[in-house]
Amino acid sequence: MAYFNKVLVANRGEIARRIIRTCQQLNIETVAVYSEADAQAPFVSEATEAVCIGPAQAKKSYLDIEKIIQAAKETGADAIHPGYGFLSENPVFAGRCEQENIVFIGPSAKVMETMGSKLEAREQMKKAGVPVVPGSVGRLSSIEEALAVAEELGYPLMLKASAGGGGIGMQLVHSREELQKAFDSTIQKAESFFNDGAVFLEKWISHPRHIEVQVAADRFGNIVHLFERECSVQRRNQKVVEESPSPFLDEALREQLLAAAVRGVKEIGYTNVGTMEFIFDEHKNFYFLEMNTRLQVEHPVTEEITGLDLVEWQLRIAAGEELPLQQHEIHKSGHAIECRLYAEDPNTFFPSPGHLTKLTLPQKEVRLDFGVQEGNDVTPFYDPMIGKIIVHGTSRDEAIKKMERALAQMDVQGLKTNLTLLEDIMKNDEFISGDYTTQFLEKKKVQLER
């Protein structure tokens, strides 16, 4: 692949290492950018060259658009891979790259902006015939309008910020009184967090399952899916365990879901890899939730069942190539599971930074995407996820057994991690049955406290 000579990785931790690995395989040079807190991190030494872009706090380093652009210009990078989080879904950053003639490895700034607005995304999906959660049309301009819409939809409802994300700017309301109470404060929160006070109402789905579809599209209008990922094991609206295929879907329902995802992507003119997130209700109805216009944390489970390298696909698409494969050439095989190792208390989920005095990892049958090594500090400045353990088996049962064996071989000392929680999940009857919802961890916690 000759399109890019040098790619700057605008991220840190395990995903920076992951991107560097594929670039090396494709003989592309890499530039790591890092904060002062990450000077000793493995990704810094693994890149061809590295540039310190500022102090520990993300807004002074990894979120500072101009410092990253400057590092790219100084090092002569011809493309920037944003990873996930940080600036990966920031249309201003993508726009700045375009201005400087640096390729942003992701979709266009315009598409990113459209999908960053939940209201706009809902409208686009409706046009494409992709089901969305029943709710209000457009932003709610007054409490009177909200109350009227709520009467029509019926409680309980979710009051949501259009620009919201990560569980912020959402309020569940069960009655007229609760909606009256929540309306102004939700708008205020949306304004102060996201600089956008637009809110809307959505029907609340009880016992939902979170299932997403990996998609890829090139500039020539070719679009494919790479099957689904089941992501219902969550705490605080963040994923802990992911698997593919989803044990909840039968073939007919899977086909419907995958087709809907591809339709939605086609409607918005998306390019590069992305993820369409859906929720399923108890009656197996599914609804579009949002689109992640970037590589996902949990992309390895898709790579394991398809044998494909999604970072390589991102690079090829961004370089202007056609998709490497057509839909009929993409197959899935077996079952993959990913566990996220978080530096946090396994029961309260409270973060636990510290010095990694020991990190023993499993040796066989497992893929390890880790951002740290023994002797590193896990600092308080960034996400608590320190690594991912990924297994592949011929069946779901085999994958669960492999994961159990892998986790049993691990030893992490110097800080708290959720390792024991991950082990419990692999042995949990409800998880093993495959019949679990996003309430799984909450329910499990309640049982433990009894």
Binding site: P351, P353, P380
Partner: protein, 84 residues
Amino acid sequence: MTGAAKKVLSPIPGVFYRKPSPDKDVYVKEGDAVKEGDVIGLVEVMKNFYEIKAEAAGVLEKFLVNEEDVLDAGQEIAVIVAES
């Protein structure tokens, strides 16, 4: 007369903030009276916010750290002089 001075410590490492969000006012100014349990600041650790509370009623005499300082676990944040 003034009562005993008590130091408020951060139980966790992280970044210290005196305001609930960048465009809001500080929780408490030096010289303000505080009640037990009043929030006097936030520490951000791994994208989570931990509230720092006054452990006793009194007057918040002085902050020992600045907005956005990086704290170690156990670091002294402020001095509260108890009512007497």
